[in-house]
């Protein structure tokens, strides 16, 4: 064990640095997303919930919690890693890491850790806040763990990739505002896709976040618009593709090393 730690000191140090950055800026990285998502629960759940009684036999204020947790976590892990990697490239302190005796996969993994830590803190914090006002069960903990793990792997790698390709802050923000946020809303955070008319119902099935969201919702509530096996499979394939892409970037130095 000691020898393993000794061999992986670079990986551990860079992972600590990424987590340190999240914790150092905790009001911005953790508290703010919890607050904004909790406001959604209060405003949409408790206020609008009075008009929409049930979806799939579940109270509306409970129904939206898994989706809001998923949305907050994937946005946070993506935003964290894209910003951290882009900043490191922009200020060129990434050179200190690229020159160090670390393997490409170690650098890739360590740079992904910050987003994972941030997302887990937000997910746990938001769940704790939600439990204070609504009664959210965890029906299938294993499915929930698998779904959250895949969501974090997928979006932490995606964040690293965008951080490597971005040539301005606008690019990282563009992906959040034009891709992740709309896909999250349209993936069924606030409604069941089953209630949509054709062709919107079918189109929703082309949205990757729809599958993630339903896998997480199944883990919490035991209900889903699509089979949990399919949700996990789609999410798994996408996560594997993102990991493969980010690994290729670090292995070849493409975009990182001129």
């Amino acid at each position: 064990m000691t020898e393993l730690v000794a061999r992986r000191r670079g990986l551990l140090a860079l992972s600590r640095r990424e987590a340190h950055r999240v914790l150092k800026l905790w009001t911005q990285t953790v508290a703010a997303p919890i607050l904004s998502s909790f406001l959604f629960i209060l405003v949409f759940g408790l206020s609008l919930g009075g008009r929409i009684k049930h979806i799939d036999g579940i109270d509306y204020d409970v129904f939206i919690v898994p989706g809001l947790i998923t949305m907050a976590m994937i946005q946070a892990t993506y935003a964290n890693n894209s910003a951290s990697v882009f900043q490191a490239r922009f200020d060129r302190y990434l050179n200190d890491v690229l020159a160090a005796p670390m393997r490409p996969w170690e650098i890739n993994l360590a740079l992904s850790i910050g987003g994972v830590v941030r997302a887990l803190l937000i997910g746990a914090g938001l769940l704790a806040c939600a439990l204070a006002v609504v009664d959210v069960p965890i029906q299938h903990p294993l499915a929930l763990t698998a779904a959250v793990a895949l969501a974090l792997v997928l979006f932490s790698s995606f964040g690293v990739i965008v951080g490597i390709y971005a040539s301005s802050w606008d690019h990282t923000a563009f992906v959040t505002n034009i891709v992740i946020l709309p896909l999250s809303f349209l993936g069924g955070v606030f409604y069941s896709v089953d209630t949509l008319p054709s062709p919107w119902h079918e189109i929703s099935h082309a949205n990757p976040i729809f599958y993630l969201l339903n896998a997480v919702r199944y883990g919490f509530l035991g209900t889903s618009d699509v089979s949990v096996g399919l949700s996990l499979a789609v999410s798994g394939v996408l996560a594997a593709a993102m990991v493969a892409w980010s690994s290729w970037l670090f292995r070849t130095g493409h975009r990182l090393k001129p």
């Binding site: 860079l14 600590r16 800026l25 050179n95 005796p101």
Partner: protein, 242 residues
Amino acid sequence: MSPTAALSLRGLTKRYDNGFLALEELALDVPDGAFFGLLGPNGAGKTTLISAICNLIRVTEGEISVFGHDHETLGARRLIGLAEQDVNLDRFLDVEETLLYHGGYYGMERAHARHRAAEMMDVFDLRAKAHVRAPMLSGGMRRRLLLARALMHEPRLVILDEPTAGVDFELRMELWAYIRRLHCEGTTILLTTHYLEEAEELCQEIALLRGGRLLARDSAPGLRSAFEADSLAGAYVKAMAS
């Protein structure tokens, strides 16, 4: 390749994606323990050469060995310390954290890294700024921290890319004194500079680069003699015009 070479380059070529040829068939040996200078105008290929040695760019062709190890190996990377020309410090870290995390990236054990960081802060007069974040430091302090970071993991080959660019006279003298002491302790130094008097004062050997090619390599008196000049500046001007 000499068995004692700290750095050995063979047929090193770098062509950037836009087609610009920054280094062309460069061959160079830097002996272990040498104080070696690289001189050349902007665009001569000095920073590209350093980036290639430190694995910060992809080499198009050729070989680079550091104390006999291929430069891409983890063993070779551990032996190199780099202070880049631009101040590239991590904006989220304070002085002490900058040194400790760097030590971690280079595999230093935590207690050893703490001890070494304290030593580096004392040597570079950074102790009072230990908990100040890099962006809040003055230009001179940032330059000191860059050097301290490059030396943190006790590298055998230290590469200094214009370490005294933009620093005041007092700090320049201080940095010269420290670099000299480091060299006397057996560390190989590869220095690039635009200050010819700096190269003449510090370096045992100097290589002149232009357009990614090696024009000449000798001691300062050797270069003066080869180019029939009274000063290194004269030799430099004649070499660049040739």
